[in-house]
Symmetry: C2
Subunit: 184 residues, 2 copies
Amino acid sequence: VARSSTTRYAVLGVLSIGPMSGYEIRKLVSESIGHFWGESYGQIYPTLRRLSEEGLAVVEREEGGKKVYAVTEAGLGELRAWAEGPLEERPLRNELLLRLFFGRHVPKRRLIGLVEEARERQVRALRWYREAEDAPSEDREHPDFPYWTTTLRFGLVMGEAFVRWCDETLQELRALERAEAGEG
Amino acid sequence: VARSSTTRYAVLGVLSIGPMSGYEIRKLVSESIGHFWGESYGQIYPTLRRLSEEGLAVVEREEGGKKVYAVTEAGLGELRAWAEGPLEERPLRNELLLRLFFGRHVPKRRLIGLVEEARERQVRALRWYREAEDAPSEDREHPDFPYWTTTLRFGLVMGEAFVRWCDETLQELRALERAEAGEG
DNA sequence: AAGCCCATGTAAGCAGTTACATGATTGA
DNA sequence: TCAATCATGTAACTGCTTACATGGGCTT
């Protein structure tokens, strides 16, 4: 049974920006929506084949072992139907929080290390978002631009909140660590 | 190949709070860490069987068709080893952002509706967190309490940030909608 | 007697990751 | 010539969800 794949819509969506090969789709995904979406080749290539079988995409041209796909009108219709449909909640899983929740069994030093690590990763991501915010002016003309900024702003707002949470959590963990040292 | 299951650690972790049946594990998960973790019966029961086969958990007692499991010393060791190990990034997928990113193909009214819906859901969650914050005093004595508060604070901080992002995004979408109406 | 929650478990089946296989092209 | 990047694809395997099957006990 299981849920239906969202990969097909991600691929259709990327093709709606412009004709592209599987390799370029993967690249665009990881470079521009990588902070909230991921796709692997093992999903992209079979999906492209299926989409073209269903008439939702076509091989626009082949150049030197490279197949450039384009979305069809039917494909755009499919994309639209999905995007307008009801938004169902997917189960979320945050492994860092799971570890913290059962943190009593873990040395506090290690917990602190884990949170610090996650914080650093997020700070790096924030730097990336801020660079992306100063996008070249050509991109600002793109019809998708206003939508891209909303997802970028998501990264900024949530990322900053995450760093704040990390700082608060680190304070608490260090306090717990000191309390323990004081006892022992 | 694929990644190793984190379900086993979630189950071991819950059992580290106290002996419990599969049904109770499911209930505790959905009631106390449901905002960042989910488990289904289809995962829990087979996992419990495997854990007891591996000696990481045991059936402490059976009462009227109910099997109460308890974590063993070996199980606690396994939990600790996992929690101290390196934190690998799992691919995240946010379907709302995906829809927004390709939002050009969707009526703005509908996009606004989607964000409003997500906002309401989050506001409800925030209410729940705030109620949980005023926990009964018995819980405050629990040795796990300081750790539980960190995950609860995560829900609060990130939830509030999310609502802020929703409000900003709604403003932008409404501006786009007005601009469109002005043109047409 | 109906409905709800407690309670355990299995089967089907898709989604998605990782690793592997293979080769062309480009540039230092 | 060596390495990196471009490029497509398949095979194996796991995780996880959903739906189904089954039944006890409590309350109204």
